[in-house]
Amino acid sequence: MNLPVQLLWLIPALPLVAAGIGALTPRGGRPIAAGAAIAALIGSFILSCLALKTALVDPAAHLTANFSWFDLGTGTFRLGWLLDPLNAFMCVMVTFVGTLIFIFSLGYMKEDANFTRFFCFLSLFAAAMLGIVVANSLLLLFVSWELVGLASYLLIGFWFHKPEAAAAAKKAFITTRIGDLGLLLGMLWLYDRTGTLLFFDNGAGCLEAGALAGLSSATLCSGLAVSTAIGLLIFCGAVGKSGQFPLHVWLPDAMEGPTPVSALIHAATMVAAGVFLVARVYPLMSADQALTNVPLHALTVVAAIGAITALMGAVIAVAQNDIKRVLAFSTVSQLGYMMLALGVGSWVAAIFHLLTHAFFKALLFLGAGSVIHAAHHEQDIRQLGGLGPKLKVTFATFAVGMLALAGFPFLFSGFWSKEAILHAAEGWEVSHLPLIAGLIAVVLTAFYMTRLVSETFFGHGRSHASEHAHESPAVMTVPLAILAACSVLIGFVGTPAWPWLQSQLTGEPVHPHGWFEGAGLMMLSILLVAFGIGAGLAIYARRTRVTASQRDPIEAKAPSLFAFLGARMKLDELYAATVGKVNSALAVVSDGLDRYVWAGIVNFLGRLGEFAGVVYREADEEGLNGGFDTGSETLREAGKVYSRSQTGDAHAYLRALAVGFVVLVLVITLGGLR
């Protein structure tokens, strides 16, 4: 049983319908809203599996179903759905992880008064993300993209009565909007150049050879290929959505939303969208690779941004104290990895890491949610501690996630995907800086994850909340267990020994690497991981924290550095000092202009109009009205006379009708006789 590509729209449509149901459900209808959302997503999951099966029949093919949306001048504007292994895998991942997160939310949001609204937004979020995934048109993708932005705004600001949440929502919305501006410009430029926004259209799509050749052959004034410029503009959008440096600032703040939302944003939907976008337009991004005489390749920028982000995220994460913020910065870092992979030319590795990351990051966030739920909404790891024995399931699954994220060798999926990326970075001819950045990030990742686990689960409770923690209900732990299992198993679809996923994505047959190819790098990274974990254990687990106010060991050694990192490298402040200042100065100038210059002109014109009005009124009342009044009076008199015949007696009307009929017939017949 296969899913024809014509029905692919059903995948996003089901959660969209669920969102509609949720919106129409009154507050009391909790089971209806949640049931609709979960059922719809499960339905989408099943459809996605069918779609995947369809796509894997011929992995190299791009199945499309295009239709015309409207006629524009002489041309037709077309939209469509696309099915290939890339988005089929994405669909399965999004719906599967999403379903588990939805189920988890049942327990996590149980006490919330706006339960139905929450599920409505969640469904909308999932629908928008699935829309991005199945779109075969950059425009359709962009529409869904913006819907994702809207849904993220609604969800991050779900507890809008908290000022931080409201601010975080605004921040996320505006920051990503900056990137979206680039995407919009790139899209318009692309349409201008190629005349289509369809990705694949039997050779006429913008990602197919004909269009790409045109794009890469044209150059701008500085010798930059057009495809490079467009690719970079589109990449702007990905930077915003995926929280890449320098637009990553919204991502940690987005932790103000409910934890399932964080999980959804970080694992399955929003941030993955950026990576997916770059992977989707990869032919466009890499179109300039063949050119040698250009000043800049688009992918070089991608790799640079990715490497910076990966390193920066990992460094900052070391000094965070909020459990969710640590995870947030780890997401930033991991997304940097993916971008790095894209940049160094291995989009397959990026997608592999995206998939594995989705599972273990969802697992980690849900685990964190479980911890927070258990500890009565205490998120500060200094206040927690000693939760291991109390939250056995959560601890076990969280540990799996942590090991996967840290890239613990062989058993865990994170190891394989990360290894694929490092392997790709090693093979990049341009520079080895990304590889070095990646390797440093490996150490740091292992270190800060060990720190997080030690602080949270080892030692003893350092606050009332952590001492009285209790295990979460099954509706929350079961998804954790499923995700943990997946976090382990999903890695084995893409090991060097059997790179099934890679082959399915690229459409080439499975050809195992030689076992020793890249073994040296693997050994190095294993050592680095071991070092990171060992360091973490040595610093944090050997002597656990006793009180909440005790200083962090690193903080004790290098207080200023720790504070700098803890304040996220003061990037927010930097933005406030530069962009914000300029912005507010501009605002002051605009205000002055508005208030004095434009307002003066407008007021003058208004006065002028007022004077003219007075003149007109006089003329009207004296001159024109007299004439009309007389005319109206005459009409009214005539009307009075005529209205006498309107007796209100239905009989009279009926009689007149009948007489009229007789007369009419007589006139016609007599006239006809003559």
């Binding site: 009989h651 009929f661 007789v662 007589l666």
Partner: protein, 169 residues
Amino acid sequence: MNLILVLIGGLMLTAAAVAMSLRNIIHSALLLIGSWLGVSFFYLWAGAEFVAFAQVLVYVGAVSMVVLFAVLLTRRDRQDVVVAPETRTRAISALLVGGSVAGLLVSAVLGTPLATGPAETPTLTVKDLGTLLAGPQAAGLLIAGVILTVALLGAVVLAATDSGKEDAS
């Protein structure tokens, strides 16, 4: 053949005429039911069995019920069903107008050479009708259904009393 038609027509016309001149409105309504039955006999005579039964079902079964209900709901006491005699002028004018229309119509009917078809009754089974209604004439059927629904809703809205707003009288 024509004798039966004349009998049916005479019955129907007499009933209608008497109904329209009686002062007791209940009697009028009952006689009109007789007249409608006469119309349905005409349909039976003409071979339109289905229409005849539909006529009985709708007019005798439904319209007459509604009429009787309306009569009973719009009277304050029993004597109200006997209405005052009409004014002479109106009666005369109505007769004049009606007579002229009748003269016109009858003369037109008699003066027009009408094409007539075969004398035997055309066969039209209910199944044929159903096929026609569900096939080529489905739009008409749907529209009739919509009209009936709208009329039902309209009648309910018009006739329903707002128990809160209804005045004491």
